[in-house]
């Protein structure tokens, strides 16, 4: 049941909303829990067992951590400072064991189901005498998202950020909430717990705003993303038959597709959750206005970046061995390198994690390392850029420089997206080679119109992308488009809503030639 299907939008979401509204406040969260498990069952059937296993592991780990903390608090009463330290050390050891077991267990499930074929294949290829069976498993829906969410929850409890919930149903709801189970955003317990469990009464404005956001997401997904899919698939599937200019257009359209689709899906799910008064975390903040790749990743798939920052980057870079490395580097290099060398080590793990999270394949690891290479190069070359700007008397905040930096970021990101979409790293290199060596602009238009998109399709995509761009520019200027629209007079407001609905119905990519396209990020 896709988020863009009528079954989800009209039947499922409608039925859940009616039940949620009809039931008394204290039972409302159970409606969300039951509907989330029904949603999961419809999509994943028996694989629901893996979601349940992870939930049970995390729930019991949380309860154990609560018990350890309670016992320690009692034991510490009346003790001297030194004795308290001894208790703390013992307690920390116990807590670490519980977290390691729980996180190890849920990540083992993820690794076995998602990566065992990749590991077996890589080992068999590297060592001829090994013959591991390359087992491929069906992946439970959203396993890469709920595993991170579950691990984040239990690590936060371990770190003392909040107390674990002792209500199994509530933990189960936090990990399975149907709007975010397929593609995230990866939620945090301290932000989601209250809105999920407290139960909200019917609110007309909230309903309108939620539906409005759902339609905006549908617009991005069906009018823009799905329409370019045939073109993109053709170019990436048989790039050898096309000139560099067509490949470049394919890369640009894929970048547009993945952004419209992923951010569109986030709008649909955020709107779905908003109807129930649950605010989901933001996953996109107009990433294509970024002036650096670093900034791009602060504005693209924000919850994944934040997760890796909080639970991988800080854990690694603040660990004792890394602190020692940092001191060593400061002692033996100059101040600049002393601070960069350890940081680049810690970042390596973060980017390896980003690459690996996206999929079981070398190209995904290359994808993570592509950004790692760009970012570390940027860090190490920073003094050189500073000197260059100063020599050329270019102001850091000048408009032309900012336009150049945005364009440079877009080019680097399109390169990264092409790697993400290409079948292998070799194909990606081949495509880039074509772009640089046989651009072949002659006959560009003629060929472009034979790859599954006619003039009308290009026009619809261009208008759709322009609408998206205008709204992004307004938001970038600090204008809250949704609130501004809400302040308009009723006829204006309803005309805008009607135009959006009509655009989805009339210009959405349906019918012959357009199969319902799965969400790209729903396959992780």
């Amino acid at each position: 049941m896709s988020y863009t299907s009528y079954t989800y939008l009209l039947i499922f979401l409608g039925a859940v909303f009616i039940c949620y509204t009809a039931l008394p406040k204290k039972f409302k969260w159970t409606v969300l829990l039951i509907s989330s498990y029904v949603f999961y069952w419809i999509n994943s059937k028996r694989l629901i067992i893996f979601l349940l296993l992870s939930t049970v592991a995390v729930y019991f780990a949380g309860v154990f951590l609560n018990r350890i903390n309670d016992t320690a608090a009692l034991a510490k009463k009346g003790l001297e400072k030194e004795e308290k330290k001894q208790v703390k050390a013992l307690v920390n050891w116990q807590k670490r064991a519980v977290v390691a077991l729980a996180v190890g267990f849920i990540f083992t499930i993820l690794l076995v189901l998602k990566y065992s074929a990749f590991f077996a294949h890589s080992l068999n290829s590297a060592f001829g005498f090994l013959h591991f069976e390359e087992l491929k498993f069906m992946l439970p829906l959203g396993i890469s998202y709920y595993t991170l969410q579950a691990a984040g929850y239990i690590i936060d409890v371990y770190r003392g950020k909040y107390r674990a919930s002792e209500n199994f149903g509530k933990v189960a709801l936090f990990l399975s909430f149907f709007p975010q189970i397929v593609e995230g955003p990866i939620g945090r317990f301290d932000l989601l717990a209250d809105p999920l469990y407290e139960g909200h009464s019917f609110d007309y404005d909230r309903l309108c705003k939620g539906v409005q956001l759902i339609f905006w997401g549908l617009f991005k997904k069906t009018v823009i993303a799905d329409r370019v899919n045939i073109f993109v698939s053709e170019v990436f599937g048989s790039y050898k038959y096309y000139s560099g200019s067509i490949i470049l257009l394919g890369g640009l359209l894929y970048t547009l597709q993945i952004y419209a689709e992923f951010s569109g899906c986030m709008d649909i799910v955020t709107g779905s959750a908003e109807i129930f008064g649950v605010p989901l975390s933001k996953n996109f903040e107009r990433p294509f206005f970024s002036k650096s790749v670093n900034e791009f990743w602060r504005r693209w798939h924000i919850t994944l970046g934040a997760w890796l920052r909080d639970y991988v980057f800080y854990s690694v870079s603040l660990s004792r061995p890394f602190m020692k490395l940092s001191k060593f580097a400061k002692k033996h290099f100059n101040e600049f390198l002393g601070s960069l060398v350890p940081a680049s080590f810690a970042l390596f793990f973060t980017w390896l994690g980003i690459g690996f999270w996206h999929g079981a394949g070398w190209k995904y690891i290359a994808y993570g390392l592509y950004y790692y290479a760009i970012m570390t190069a940027g860090m190490y070359l920073e003094p050189l850029f500073a000197k260059l700007y100063s020599a050329l008397k270019i102001k850091r905040d000048s408009k032309p420089l900012n336009i150049f930096r945005v364009a440079r970021t877009v080019i680097l990101v399109v390169g990264g997206m092409m790697l993400f979409r290409a079948d292998t790293v070799g194909v990606w290199v081949g495509m880039l080679k074509c772009v640089f060596t046989s651009f072949g602009a002659g006959g560009f238009l003629k060929t472009a119109l034979t790859l599954g998109m006619d003039k009308q399709d290009f026009l619809i995509v261009a208008v759709g992308a322009a609408v998206m761009l205008i709204i992004s520019i307004l938001q970038e200027k600090g204008i809250n488009v949704r609130d501004s629209l809400a302040r308009q007079k009723l006829p204006v407001r309803w005309c805008a809503y009607a135009a959006l609905v009509m655009a989805v119905v009339i210009f959405g990519a349906y019918g012959p030639g357009y199969d319902a396209v799965d969400f790209i990020y729903g396959q992780f």
Partner: protein
């Protein structure tokens, strides 16, 4: 407080640290700078800043950083 300002100045020169009201929101301190800062604070004040302390509220202004350092010194 002076020691803290010296450390901050060393990590990122040219910022009016005592007047800045949102070091995180205004991207003055990013995750790399925070790690450098934590290393320096741990050494200078003999404290242990752990990942749980790394929340925007603790790094919002020079004063909130100072308050965190004082709290960890007392623990």
């Amino acid at each position: 407080m002076e020691e803290l300002i010296d450390i901050l100045e060393e990590i990122k020169p040219g910022v009016d640290w005592e007047k800045e009201t949102d070091l995180i929101g205004n991207h003055i301190l990013d995750s790399l700078k925070i790690v450098q800062l934590v290393g320096a604070l741990n050494d200078e004040f003999d404290i242990e800043i752990t990942p749980i302390d790394i929340v925007p509220e603790n790094f919002k202004t020079a004063e909130t950083i100072y308050a965190m350092v004082k709290r960890l010194e007392d623990e």
